[in-house]
């Protein structure tokens, strides 16, 4: 499995043509206490760059965009009851949604872990 990252602080774990999407440890640390997350329903069609989910800290609401296009397999229902999972385990149990890739070429423009770390260090 390969993990990619975006400049919008999302991680994308690729397993064949299915991918899992969440926000990075850096993103959660900067957003602060997460109090609400809204994830897409199974079957929803997402287009790369379009609205996919919402994450809300005490202070503000933020959109999570679809990093790649595809059809949602499932949203992480655990976030409804325990949105703080995004803080405690952002790159694991705090995932947002899984989808089936519609165009694997879209992965080419994403960063690997080293490139993302360099991107964060430059902020």
């Amino acid at each position: 499995m390969t993990r990619y990252f975006t400049e919008d602080h999302e991680w994308i774990e690729v397993d064949g043509d299915s991918v899992t999407v969440g926000i990075t440890h850096y993103a959660q640390s900067q957003l602060g206490d997460i109090v609400f997350a809204e994830v897409p329903a199974a079957g929803a069609t997402l287009k790369k760059g379009g609205d996919a989910a919402v994450v809300e800290s005490v202070k503000a609401a933020s959109d999570v965009y679809a990093p790649v296009s595809g059809t949602v397999i499932e949203g992480n229902d655990a976030l409804e009851g325990d949105p703080a999972l995004v803080n405690s385990d952002p790159e694991g149990e705090g995932w947002f949604f899984k989808l089936t890739l519609s165009d694997s070429n879209e992965l080419d423009s994403l960063m690997n872990a080293v490139a993302y770390q360099a991107f964060v260090d430059g902020l």
Binding site: G32, V35, E56, A60
Partner: protein, 397 residues
Amino acid sequence: MRQPASVAATLERTDMSEEDEFDLEPIEILELPLDAWHRDKGARMVEFAGYQMPIQYEGIMAEHIWTRDNAGLFDVSHMGQLMLTGDGVAEALEAMVPGDISALKEGKMRYSLLLAEDGGVLDDMMITAVPMGLYVVVNGAVKWDDMGYLRENLPDEITINNMEDRALLALQGPKAAEALKRVVPGVDALYFMEAGSFFWGPKTDPEPLWISRSGYTGEDGFEISVPAAHAPRLADQLCAQPEVRPIGLGARDSLRLEAGLPLYGHDMNPDVDPVEGNVAFAISKRRRAEGGFAGAERILNALAKGPARKLVGLSVDGKMPVREGAPIFAGEAQVGIITSGGFAPSLGAPIAMGYVDAAHNAAGTALEAEVRGKRVSVTVANLPFVPHHYHRKGAKA
């Protein structure tokens, strides 16, 4: 309504306000006396009211709860500390504020409002009678406008001194008094809305501090005016007390929202009068009878007939926060708008305040707010959401 920004855009925001993305950039973002002190304590700094301010240290939720249970130290040095002096200063100021300022005894303070000609609220403020005249604390974001308006409308013999060489600290929470009296002996003699001068430091070289028992969190607490040069030393001494931790603007906002206290520029603005703004308590009895303040006709009329709309509290069903700008509906008809909203750490639920039309603003009225195209059930609630714990004179301990 403002749509959520992307995660990256949210992280890049350096200002505190959700509203001002189209505002002109201030010429220069200024530093306050405790700037280095905050950074040293690990604060995340943001731009607020033209200054670099700490939005959080360890996290908004933890800081909020700490303040409700212990004592939190807030830097509010961005606020304007004005000294108004001159013969007849109280009577002169009463032309622009609806409180009974001439009756204010030395060492007593009251919450008041700066009123425009048409009765709109230009700012809210704390006015204290002091030996020299009146000590007035105004909001940082509008302090320059306030000073201009006051200068224009006060007689020439009244002097306005903007005390920029002083910092302002707030120590808030149920353990604020026991912590502060160790650093500044005698300060616990003050009751809520009283103020006085207290000596701090070595007996050989004491520094006078101006301290009031007041604040904006709903908790007991104090506000301390200190010469800027001494502010870091005082902040260090306060944070050395086991009850005290530094608290950022983020928790200040969630604390005041739970306490049902309006935030100027969000819950009040020049379009609303004090009755609509649910701060009619600031209009003193004598002033109601006599009038004689800016906008008196509109305001007294609203008092007599009831306002067409009013700022109310709203409890929110579910877990999704309802934020500033969200429209409020009764069925198909829009009957209001949210002006402050967020997550209440002490309640573990979202809460909000907003303006709602008279026919729909009684406590208990079921309404809906719209968030990202979806309707959320909200209910008009009595304020405050979390009870106040002020140290009032005559109240049971």
